[in-house]
Symmetry: C2
Subunit: 188 residues, 2 copies
Amino acid sequence: MVVKERIRIGGRSARIQEAVHRAVRQLSAETDRDQLTVPQIAAEAGVTPSTIYRRWGDLASLLADVAVERLRPIADPEDTGATASDVRTFIEQYVEEMTSPIGRALMRDVVSPLEQSYSGKCDVFTRQHLSTIAERAEARGETPFDIDEVIDHVMAPIVYHLLFGNRELTLAYCHSLLGRVQSLSRPD
Amino acid sequence: MVVKERIRIGGRSARIQEAVHRAVRQLSAETDRDQLTVPQIAAEAGVTPSTIYRRWGDLASLLADVAVERLRPIADPEDTGATASDVRTFIEQYVEEMTSPIGRALMRDVVSPLEQSYSGKCDVFTRQHLSTIAERAEARGETPFDIDEVIDHVMAPIVYHLLFGNRELTLAYCHSLLGRVQSLSRPD
DNA sequence: GCTATTAACGCAAAGTATTTGCTTTAAGGG
DNA sequence: CCCTTAAAGCAAATACTTTGCGTTAATAGC
């Protein structure tokens, strides 16, 4: 189920959304995520369970909604002075964050609902970050790289191994992925 | 929860597993998957719900278990006479299968449980298929390609776009991914 | 084969979670 | 400031999940 695009965005509605999100973050830090329940979250947030069911539909959608908010970038990617190191730093931080148990759980939460809108937003976040880095590159007079190429050949393998296991995401591996991006390593 | 490695594998146990799997396939063809319930599956399979809960733990694990079985290869990849076209045909069939609503649902089912064992098995299936193709290549005297490279730079982008949306998986796009695999397109 | 052992199933009761109809509250517009 | 109505609360009804215990049948030992 989709989180409704609300017509009312202020006041009580916003307070309750914030309280519920906070409750999910709080409880998922304390307890195992597979024994997280809607009534438990409702109690922690001080709302009635039916409010959560009516607004988010089910636990999976609520968790996905919270996960998207946690993955939403709070700042622009670090400016290291050069495009290649900007991208490398961004990727290293992404891997650092997502290989943790919390990161892996967020990834699953975002990808699990039938609705693709949650995972779609995360893809947009990544593209926005890469756009920022690409704009900086252009401002510096460097050749801008191809965002789709970084998504397909750096991000995608990382996400694949996060979800499907069977390979460790070492720093060296990430660097080898970056090395294959032609528009970064071989500017022409 | 993990599906237990059962000590008893024959007779009644096997019949019930088959009946439950069949019921899931049957019902998920008829009804929307987000209104599929354990009691409903139990009724269709002619077992009691507690059998399903004790054996699979929850609906997500059962769906993942069924999805893995449906994704398990039933035959070796087609032998087209040349390595490049073997891989291309395999990828085209994979995309054909997974872009359908059923395929997308299977992908999500496999990836959703906290347990990585389900998605891990799917990665193994892919590697086995690619191994078969690589062995054939060697038998023909062709240069064998790097399986990890195909996983990372062809499969991973495809899976990424399946899960995160925002890009259509056209045939031309798949071919462009294959074109980037050095050990396939530029044998040296 | 036959029996003993015990994993796995069935049943039913107890415990939770989810849905739903109706009432109340408070945003946002006039 | 009042009206309209989206969204929340409440509580009863329904549905799902867990659990204890008796029963069935798969396997091991003889």
